[in-house]
Symmetry: D3
């Protein structure tokens, strides 16, 4: 199995609902350094998993759409806790939509899966892995 990964980041404000979150129930924020990993059993005719330029652009577009916002005010997240875990899934699902729409190139239709990891600090991170 092959994989290719690209890294970018986004900076957001939000608050979390639930006693388990302690002081993170207050409005605060985070930088998420985001790694998107694309998996594929075999390489394409060019010898790649995915066009890394297009993959990086897709990730950048998704993160720009989230970034420099207060997620508490975004309709897309109404009624949902925007935990690191949950945002990893949101980003992975949006990347999957880009892949299926052909925006990562035709070869991206051969991708087997995706992993998205959000690093919220030097001591904590979360991932979501899904098939494609």
């Amino acid at each position: 199995m092959f994989s290719v990964s690209v890294r970018d980041h986004t900076m957001i404000a939000h608050s979390l609902r639930g006693e388990v979150f302690g002081p993170a129930q207050r409005l605060h924020g985070a930088t998420y350094v985001v790694d998107a990993t694309f998996r594929r059993a075999t390489l394409d005719a060019d010898g790649i998993v995915v066009d890394i330029g297009r993959a990086a652009e897709a990730l950048r577009a998704i993160l720009a759409d989230l970034g420099y916002r207060n997620l508490d005010d975004e309709a897309a997240f109404a009624g949902m806790n925007t935990t690191t875990e949950a945002l990893a899934r949101v980003i992975a699902d949006r990347l999957a939509d880009h892949a299926r729409a052909g925006e990562l190139g035709d070869g991206a239709r051969e991708l087997d899966g995706l992993v998205v990891t959000l690093r919220e600090s030097h001591v904590a991170w979360a991932s979501y892995e899904r098939p494609l």
Copy 2:
């Protein structure tokens, strides 16, 4: 599949028995930077894999129990080579005990697995992965 990871560290002395270890047969030491990863198929009602505060506390307690010691003198490791690989299992098994005892919260009973990685330098590390 979701995962959440936390990082901490511990500093120990030990020696290793066996010709394969060369100069590491002498009493020496290591800083282990330890990553504990908790895996779960679905998020709980709060939108998390595990209470990250409790997970970090459990890891800290386990590492404090090991740290600032000469492992050669610890009864828990009598007759065992305290290699990086072997210590990764010890820490993973102790985290599993915490999870089963409910110390990571009730939701932690839904965890599917654990990975513990010990980084002993910028060029070497070892992991142990187990189900829960």
Copy 3:
């Protein structure tokens, strides 16, 4: 010249005023991974620059006081742009207060200077350096 550094982090929300900030004029947030460096020409009788345990505690207290907050609502920052650069100075000045108050130990009165670095992502950071 000797130095000792400790790392911790804090997560905040804020917005920045001024056209130069583009989309960062909107309410958003950041994780700051914070390195505090203490400088001293000679070591004390114990062979250290500063009690690293106390230094880490002082940094943790200062960051906890900032963290999980919307800095736009904090009286301490009224009328000030809470840029990464400006926050580096705030944290350095608060550490200097701790040092002068003897909270880093008596030896900390011999410190020559401080550097505080705030990493806001994997591709951007800011520092403030001051004498003590």
Copy 4:
């Protein structure tokens, strides 16, 4: 499942054929920071996955054989695009040859698999994973 990883690097020149590569179709170069991960279900009698000294030496030999060269001129890569993904497989396959030849020690015959990751920058990397 246990694993042990070692890190080393190599510096090469090459060019890539295909429109998808844009400016990377020109002769350029890369530093690859290479992580080799060895997997095994159980530890050997010494408590290890593999002799880490021998594993590091094998990786170093393989990387020295690639390094400080223009891969476009190497017979071994004639007719092949030396993408990061493709080179990850080349290195993994050569490590597998070393393992089977007994050069990682007798115990290495019990290895279950290998992962090789090539980091080409702080924002892009590729991996190849195979059984042994």
Copy 5:
């Protein structure tokens, strides 16, 4: 003293002339992960050292101009060894030109100095520091 730093990268081919370089006398290549640090004694009216967006753009333009090339064929480097140290100076001098030309904003004329660091691997890097 304040500073702000941004990170980017470039990938080049080159060879080095001189016995001291051993196998690096052959045509090979490198990824340089480049940190540009801008220093200034006081913050401007917006509370910043430099417009970080413009600084990042200037660095990106300079690195794009170098990247995906064989430096041995570039007129700009004729008769010069393109060592990591020497390239750090080239990039710092070009950033200084951008600053003086006003491309980093008017405030950049208040900058006191620049440091450029090129990381060529996980175990080696070089810097050049100059006034502005």
Copy 6:
């Protein structure tokens, strides 16, 4: 001012004397990831600060001499607390001896200074800087 840096590591056991060290008064150990930085105002005729191969070899020899040992038993450290700060000076002084003895090449006699940084974990490190 130019600089070149190389990274290596060493693993030792030791204990520290003094109440300020708390549990680190017990026999324990550390991995030190060691960065050695060589500074020079101008480049030599080859366009370098120092022969990086020789510099890396000198660092490796110094660290091998310390490593896989219990520093409490070494005559060289009798009566001295082997704190991270103190060891940074020991390593810097030994590198200075190598430079003066011509072991880093003739050009190394033009070096202006040295910095040695010991990273003892992901959250703590110490440096010593000296002229040459």
